[in-house]
Symmetry: C2
Subunit: 345 residues, 2 copies
DNA sequence: CTTTAGCACTCATTGAATAAGAGTGCTAAA
DNA sequence: TTTAGCACTCTTATTCAATGAGTGCTAAAG
């Protein structure tokens, strides 16, 4: 990857990153000297730090200040220097217990709880994208007559989504006519993902059915609305107030921009979706993020799956000065548990 | 109500309130003099203002500053001085169009949209409590067999709630057995509110049924979970970032406390529920609020109904320096539209 | 008795000047 | 190559005076 630093420089870079993550203050040569095992003097460290700055790994906020890691510095740290610390017992415990308590829970419930654990365990804002409805496979469609004018359409997918909608019948429908329509639809749609149920397919089905029964215009509404819904996948947020604890967000204006972002679900969705990869865990530091609004932040994402099918993405968003090691281990753990919790249902 | 002020004092109090609401700056005698129609000198105004302060309607932040309304001052203004300004055409339009666009919408969707209009039209944070599930009346219970091991329980209330849950059958159930159970349950439960379906009633039903069929343990889970849910009514928030625009929230610490509150749904629920009254619109200024966390704020609430049954509460929360007139007219309008939108579905 | 002009006074805010302190870069010696 | 030493830089905190908005009070005018 990037040019390899000699061991001493690596030590120093690590010292700066670790210290800065902890204190949020520029770190000077003296503190690094204390940190450095093979007792070097601060003067030597200063020279090395000047080098590291020239190479782009460190930044000096002003002449008489210590150094802070640059984006490149963080990147080098994450790629080469960071060692994943073990999760403390209680955090691991907390994650497991939150996710496995009652088995009989809705998928949304599971996810909402996940945002809570994730944000509290990382002290950052967490965001989790719910399972992508449009990638779920159609399993069953049912119509429950409520009275002779109304019915309840129920749509069930393989990922456990259950959508329903009350519809008005235009004309009276006999039980057997309803049966016919429903079983026809089930037969045609079975196994398709919601993605694949295009408007044209629906229209085709409609034509087909109208030939036999001149009714049921509305029975299709649920399907059509489900399609629209692809743009409305929910993103769940947790710990949004955590950013207020970060000194980099002591400026009210920055806070506003950030919270504003949090209110725009579609944007969050895009951000998460763009980062959803087959990879285990992705770390996007600063301007590595495509979205301007978070280019002062680091976004760490992971994907969760059910039966090896990618369902959604979980993310942690915070300032670039973030405890990478901790966040990554927490997220790894969470995704594991999430996978288990979901596949057992 | 409170002691009545003479006309001149009322004029002056109104001037102070209106000005302060607009500018967020303490208003001095000179600005009131400009505002006052019957050209009085600032000295006279000063005397009157000193009186008003002594009477508790005004406050002087420090000796050489103008006056700001006290809580009592706001109260007097709201009760006696405020004239409800007409809603501007475009705001009225916006509310109507948001709520009546597609008729075929879920109740949750309607409410989420409402929070958006409400917050953007008032520049404050809006909160809306979803229909109280527990006060809805049971209408129908259905069980849809999915395969021979699983079924979908569907619970429908008169307020349009549809709850569903996949259950595992412990043993195989014949179609007719299922029918029996279901119709028995429907008969027993019809018309009861969810509130009234107590655990003891459920247990009674269980005993009753077990005598006939030794199965269906899980069919009750939906019911039982529905009961638990009474504590989980969702509160929808809109425009939380609006508080950041208020000068009274320029302190990061206050912001944190406020946002923290916003993250605690159960608390929000309590706050709204306590304020839900049969009355049209309720204004709670400062310490009139029971909850400490919002005693620097004003909460204005209204209730929406369907067929004359109170369903939920909508609220606007902001600093006591709030444009009462505007918020109240917007809310009145919104509640009206909401009532219409809900009763037409 | 009420209103108003006049004036001294108060207090928050602003900006400049100063002091303190942290940390650097450079030089020269080890 | 490393290190001690020192002058230098730049931020932060503090003090101080100046500014100005607005008041309260008094005494005169209506």
């Amino acid at each position: 990857m990037t040019a390899v630093l000699n061991e001493r420089k690596e030590h120093i870079l690590r010292a700066v990153v670790v210290n800065y993550i902890k204190t949020a203050e520029p770190v000077g040569s003296r503190s690094v000297a204390r940190f450095y095992p093979g007792g070097l003097s601060s003067a030597t460290i200063r020279n090395e730090m000047a080098d590291l700055e020239e190479m782009g790994y460190l930044i000096q906020p002003h002449t008489s200040a210590g150094r802070i890691p640059s984006q490149l510095g963080y990147r080098y740290y994450v790629d080469n220097l960071m060692d994943l610390n073990e999760l403390s017992e209680d955090v691991a415990e907390k994650i497991s217990s939150t996710l496995s308590a009652g088995k009989m829970r809705e998928i949304e419930q599971i996810i909402m709880n996940s945002t809570k654990v994730l944000s509290s365990a990382t002290n950052q804002t967490s965001l989790i994208m719910g399972p992508q409805f449009k990638k779920s496979a159609f399993r069953q469609l049912r119509i429950l007559p409520l009275d002779d004018k109304k019915g309840l359409v129920v749509l069930i997918t393989d990922t456990g989504y259950i959508k329903n909608k009350v519809i008005d019948f235009q004309h009276h429908l006999s039980q057997s006519e309803l049966q016919q329509v429903v079983s026809y639809l089930n037969q045609k749609l079975y196994g398709l993902t919601i993605d694949q149920v295009t408007t044209s397919l629906i229209n085709e089905l409609k034509r087909d059915l109208f030939r036999r029964l001149e009714i049921l215009e509305q029975a299709f509404i649920l399907l059509e609305e489900s399609l629209k819904e692809e743009k409305q996948i929910r993103v769940f947020l947790g710990g949004t107030t955590n950013i207020l604890n970060q000194p980099e967000f002591k400026d009210v204006d920055k806070i506003r921009r950030m919270l504003n972002l949090f209110e725009q679900e579609p944007l969050l969705f895009k951000i998460l979706e763009d980062n959803s990869s087959e990879d285990d865990i992705v770390v996007r530091i600063g301007s590595e993020n495509e979205f301007e609004d978070i280019q002062e932040c680091t976004l760490i994402t992971g994907t969760y799956r059910i039966h090896d099918k990618t369902l959604g993405t979980v993310g942690v968003l915070g300032p670039t000065r973030m405890d990478y090691s901790r966040v990554i281990s927490v997220m790894r753990r969470l995704v594991d548990q999430l996978n288990q919790a979901l596949s057992s249902s």
